[in-house]
Symmetry: C2
Subunit: 336 residues, 2 copies
């Protein structure tokens, strides 16, 4: 049978699936998952990706489209990795090396992982049938993908959709971000920053003073839900906010406002008909999700709101596999 | 000969030109300009636009593509005006009424005026040959147009590119904007707001206090350039900043930072290869233009800067005519 193959190369897992090439929404026929492991030299990873493609292609006939979504900032449409903090790569000709290893039977495209996920939701998930979509995933960091005029918006260096790095602060106290910049929304709303802020506020950093910290330790609803200060996660804060806890609601309102400003500003520019929200943090914090939705109504220009909705991502981990395979099948950024 | 026609319907002028349909960059063959005047009822304006099209089409043969750029927020791809403060319209089926009046010889498309201008710079001006472009015009207000993947980004309600209404403030003191929102970049950088701020700072509003106001009156470099307090324009401030005047430089740095934040955030999302800057204000304030360029280097994510430049708009008033005609010829948002 004719197949298309989707690969998701993340910081922890290498996953792949083959799909019936005749049906864009078909479930994965075969799926594979392995740990990325410790040997992250490009040549080692490329060999393992190629071996997975070969296994997935075993039952296929004819030329096979292969799409790879990679947790990296790309530099061009030939799969060159500018930087991947997850893989520890910088300036790696990943796409061309992988294409050479795979050989002419395979038609390869390499995509930013969030772009692949966004396209997956477009062809088979929460953004089916939409011509203009903004998809934003809030997990450890914040990533975004854009569909405009029914096409994936790639951008000139294949870096479109970097909504995590729009600035929401630009004064001298703006928080440093992992990207090297300061004041990025990711530095206030991304999961890893948020966990640090929660810990700091609960345990009472220097700025909170002893009395407030003691009070927090004793009465904090999130701490009570978690059982101990050390175990408080954003989920506990979300539950505490739902019960009306003042500290949790205040924190969540801060966070929701900053995220909504970044989202509303992107919508003013893109005029999307649908905002898809997903990611590890937002999928576990329904109250925060709701506060973001409410804040969006205030900060988004009104004409855009006339035909607009916010939905949760549907496909979870499969979105990237579905999307990468579909993009490759459409010939997007094919490496010839 | 075969023609295409471009029309620019603004708040003051109705302009039109016919172009040789065989050459996208051809100069206008015939051009017309008249005042919009006082009778702004939709039926009156539509009749005048149609009469201009008929005149411009007199020497044409065969079907003729007609593109109209209009100073309005559109609601759809059929030329429905949601609101046009300039024309005093709300909910006007402009496109369909004009198409009915023009008849089947003409193939009509209606576009936001800034989108038409952006497309004009793309086909024959400062963004020729670029696949991903952000064009921003700072005049009385701030408008933007986007080219993504080589296509005009229209958005789901045909309102994409509303960069004037991204928020740069969201605290309780955020400035009110003509759009009904608060904290929009237009409310800090748009020409009409800027002129008010200049007047307020020079004449000494309540917040400036008597002493500072007196000092400003006596020593302000912009006032000396203008001859009197009442005649100070942004151009005088720009000249004063160039000579190193502290107040003018401080104001311009404020303004440039806010505009650069809005632009840099848009670029983080769009990953454009070129930023085209134009409009009545920026074309007369070279020092401000330069400060914006410099600030952009700080606030834009670095990978995007690798392949990026900032250029001034080239076509001036003709851009909208060229662009509207070219969009219509490409069949974009054709009203069937």
């Amino acid at each position: 049978m004719t197949l298309r193959i989707g690969i998701d190369l993340g910081g922890s897992n290498l996953r792949g699936a083959a799909f019936d090439a005749g049906d864009v929404a078909a479930p994965a026929q075969w799926a594979q998952r392995e740990m990325v492991g410790t040997d992250r030299r490009p040549e080692a990873i490329i060999e393992r990706v190629a071996a997975m493609v070969d296994r997935l292609a075993a039952d296929g006939t004819g030329p096979i489209d292969v799409g790879v979504g990679i947790a990296a900032m790309l530099r061009d449409r030939r799969g060159t990795v500018a930087v991947s903090p997850h893989l520890g790569w910088r300036d790696v000709a990943f796409g061309e090396l992988l294409a050479a290893r795979l050989g002419s039977r395979f038609r390869l495209g390499v995509y930013n992982d969030v772009n692949a996920i966004t396209w997956g939701e477009h062809v088979a998930g929460a953004a089916r049938g939409c011509r203009d979509v903004l998809a934003v995933y809030v997990g450890t960091g914040i990533g975004g993908g854009i569909i405009a005029n029914g096409q994936l918006l790639e951008g000139s260096t294949n870096c479109a959709g970097e909504i995590g790095h729009v600035k929401v602060r630009w004064d001298d106290d703006a928080a440093p971000c992992a990207c090297g910049g300061r004041g990025c929304v990711e530095a206030y709303v991304g999961g890893s920053y948020l966990e640090k802020r929660i810990a700091r506020e609960i345990t009472g950093g220097k700025r909170n003073g002893g009395a407030r910290a003691r009070l927090a330790r004793e009465n904090n609803a999130a701490v009570q839900l978690a059982g101990s200060i050390e175990r408080v996660t954003p989920s506990h804060v979300d539950q505490a906010a739902t019960t009306g806890d003042e500290w949790a609601l205040g924190l969540w309102t801060d966070v929701a406002t900053l995220l909504a400003i970044a989202l509303g500003n992107a919508l003013a520019i893109l005029d999307s008909e649908r905002l898809v929200l997903g990611g590890g943090l937002l999928s576990r914090t329904p109250m925060l999700f709701e506060l973001v939705e409410t804040a969006l109504l205030v900060v988004t220009p009104h004409p855009i709101l006339e035909r607009f909705d916010v939905v949760a991502a549907e496909l979870g981990d499969n979105a990237g596999l579905v999307g990468a395979a579909a993009l490759a099948a459409d010939g997007v950024a094919r490496i010839e």
